[in-house]
Symmetry: C2
Subunit: 506 residues, 2 copies
């Protein structure tokens, strides 16, 4: 939001409807906010280094322990004690900026501090919508949610959304990756559930998007998320994921998921000290596996209700944790992911307020990627179609705010003001006539009609109105499908299915 004049389309008459905001590549315009002083941030970092050095990290994968040991870390049983020199070297070798390629150039992203990307809610066992109610996620739900994700330019990444539980686990990744490839041209997420599944996914991607082995190895085209088992544990599939993605040159986003008071200290600074230590351990593993592997720093730290143990999101503690994690990310210089969320059980005012509050924490923390930005309910147990629409109103407004505010002489409006008598109106000024089709943000789902009109139209709330919105998006055709590539993809899946698929490794 600098003072540069807003770039507008040259020929307004070619597209008289609406604003021309490029939501596909965004930079965060909001000033970063610190939770603590710079000195205190360094103290948190030092505490994390001490945790790694003195308390150690439990690493369950023997191969990972070998990698650490070979680099000189002390390993005792399954505990790895990581010296600060190893961490320092890893942070020096991890790239500060890298591309993440989509299937089309306009979907390419640059992951670095300062860029801004959004991902809808992910990893939920359930889906819910007003038509079918709340149910265990299915392949069809996943496909529909991928289509909704594809539709919005301000959603940059296609995640797991919901878990399609009607597909057996040894075949599920074929369904999910196949759907992500055919229904979207955006970069997408691959689960780290063992090397066989990961290799399958990489191969499907190369086949369908026509990427050579060399191009794939040279540039990230997909990402995984590595959740540590807090406190201080890196389990087998997660450690394997770090290694597999580092070797393949694809992006691992290291995200300890810590709830203050439960699997992390009750304090914001303590929870981030732990989360930061765990992230540094996994980043070090990735860099030891392959120097220069593209990795993102991540946190997802919120609190629990100390009366019930229930997780909470969009709270002041969640907000502070995002801010402090942002300070850690700036300290180490890596692109980073944060997350918003809501513990609400329905798409209501609580859900909206928690998700937006958490979102502002991420925005002011300078996150490169904001996860669960749309649709996430029940602390992640459900993705709601209607909430996805309601949240996208906010995400679209944020994307709009990434464009500069125009401050040209014409925008300052002296001539327009001179045209209008005191107590007159501006509906017909030269300036208004030149700009009225494109000056303002156009709502996705908001209803700005007055109470009488709104009542006549059925008195529908935002949740109810959102159903029509996602239904009409699902009627859009998906991306064009190249028959040859589609053939190669389905042949691969058929072959692998006949071979028995690839069960997840735990």
């Amino acid at each position: 939001m600098s003072g540069k004049p807003r770039r507008r389309r040259r020929n307004a008459s070619a597209d008289p409807q609406g604003r021309n905001v490029n939501a596909r590549q965004l930079r965060n315009p909001f000033p970063p906010m610190n939770a603590v002083s710079d000195d205190e941030a360094h103290d948190v970092h030092a505490t994390s280094l001490r945790i790694l050095e003195e308390l150690g990290t439990r690493v369950l994968l023997p191969e990972a322990r070998k990698i650490f040991a070979a680099a000189g870390a002390r390993v005792k049983d399954d505990i790895v004690f990581l010296g600060r020199d190893l961490v320092k070297a890893a942070l020096a070798s991890a790239p500060k900026s890298f591309a993440l390629k989509g299937a089309a150039p306009h979907r390419d992203l640059q992951m670095e501090l300062g860029t801004l990307t959004f991902q809808p809610g992910a990893g939920s066992p359930h889906a819910t919508c007003r038509v079918k109610g709340r149910r265990p996620g299915t392949s069809q739900d996943f496909r529909e949610l991928v289509k909704l994700t594809q539709h919005f330019d301000a959603l940059h990444l296609v995640p797991t959304l919901i878990e399609p539980q009607d597909i057996p686990v040894h075949l599920r990744h074929y369904d999910m990756v196949g759907t992500a490839l055919t229904q979207s041209d955006k970069p997408f997420f691959i689960y780290s559930r063992g090397t066989p599944q990961v290799e399958d996914a990489f191969e499907m991607m190369r086949l369908y998007r026509g990427i050579s082995e060399a191009d794939f190895a040279a540039t990230p085209h997909c990402y995984t998320i590595i959740n540590t088992n807090s406190p201080r544990t890196l389990d087998i599939p997660m450690a394997q994921g770090v290694i597999d993605f580092a070797r393949a040159g694809q992006i691992a986003i290291i995200t300890p998921f810590t709830l203050m008071g439960a699997m992390a200290p009750i304090t914001v600074a303590g929870a981030i000290a732990l989360s930061h230590a765990e992230a540094l351990a996994a980043i070090t593993l990735g860099q030891l596996t392959r120097h220069g592997a593209p990795m993102m720093y991540g946190t997802f730290t919120s609190n629990v209700d100390m009366k019930s143990g229930a997780p909470a999101f969009g709270t002041p503690e969640h907000f502070r944790a995002s801010l402090l994690a942002g300070q850690m990310a700036r300290l180490i210089g890596l692109p980073w992911r944060s997350a918003t969320g809501s513990a609400a059980n329905i798409n209501d005012a609580q859900a909206a307020n928690e998700t937006q509050m958490g979102l502002w924490g991420c925005l002011m923390a300078g996150a490169t990627t904001i996860v669960h930005a749309a649709g996430w309910l029940e602390g992640g147990l459900t993705v709601s179609y209607e909430k996805l629409i309601c949240d996208m109103e906010v995400v679209n407004m944020i994307a709009d705010l990434c464009t500069p505010t125009e401050a040209t002489t014409d925008a300052m409006g002296f001539d327009a003001i001179a045209e209008v008598a005191p107590q007159g109106h501006f509906f017909a000024t030269t300036q208004t006539m030149a700009r009225y089709t494109s000056e303002f943000y156009e709502p996705l789902n908001a209803d700005w009609s007055n109470f009488g009109q709104w009542t006549e139209n059925g008195a529908l709330d935002a949740h109810t109105r959102a159903t029509d919105k996602w239904q009409s998006i699902l009627e859009h055709p998906g991306p064009a499908i190249d028959p040859d590539r589609y053939g190669a993809l389905t042949a691969f899946v058929a072959k692998r299915t006949a071979e028995g698929g690839a069960p997840p490794i735990s």
Copy 2:
């Protein structure tokens, strides 16, 4: 949110429930965000000065025109042309910081750039709640909404809330001021609807709060809001209000209400140039009336839907306008008021999202006072009891975020982390046990129970749950009433009523 350790109560056992956040006096912890460059902000200011000088302002009150003319402004018919020297002198004489006194020292506020105060929704013809539905506001509604405002420490100012239309207009101010005085100990709003009403209100306040004429003249105890009639018009009651409040040493908040594309240019910069010019004209009138009169700068600028003309709030344009107005406020150095809002017709996800989006615009614009922060629906036509509760969840969280994030050695949690084995939990660490009653924000209305529990409890959404909340607050007793002062107040009202009251002047 500096790095200073959070001040906690010394003796946690004295009050084992909940956090000890002082929401009564807040400073804004969020970094201010600019909409345009500093040079461009100066250009906007220069455009405003040119509007005042070359185009002039229509001033309908003869006394106000006389004051302007006596100071050397050119007056032609009812248009006042204001030279920049007069504006400059007014900005030099307007105080940059002043107190606003409540009935108790803990309600006293300091109005300046950097402090943060909230006001609930105000000025609405209708009230709505789940019990009685939407109806024209009554005296009882006003009383109840004052009680709700009094209840929340993070609501610092008692505004008009709704218009009690069951009271005749010549007596309405007795009812409103009497209720504000007896049901709240906070500073409150007085309408500028002509000198007789204003003088009545001042006298009621002095009588009930036991303020001498001299103390009242020396220190602000109440405030009014001056809305210009945009574009470029200051009407009779508003000009009179500026003069009356300046003479009395009470606070006039000058707030042009401009909708871009309707009563202001369609551009953010143009709308703020106009709004800024109008604010400067009224501030100049106030300072010419009495040098050093306490005045606040204000804006309320949003956009209309260019298809229907319907006003919209919580939009990117509203957000940008707040940011640019904040730059203008910092340029002139005055404490200032901004506003959020929503055009939604019901307390739903749209209402929550718009109000919170507008709120963040105000927060990042560095507003001293944020108006319509809770309860405002339908672009101000209704105040909702349930929305007031839902919005207060957000305001309370913001108030919580005004306290620093603790970064002591204990908070950084090394010892707590050392106490817990990998994959263990922190529920019983020494650190958790010492802090669990007060570490986290406690929700007002949010329900964090899981889906099963929530369903068993009736599957109530935030809107529905809010009814119980405001009902239980209304059961609280109001502030203690001093019988002598109450007697003086009622005697005054009886006398003035017998004299015929004071009709509003228009």
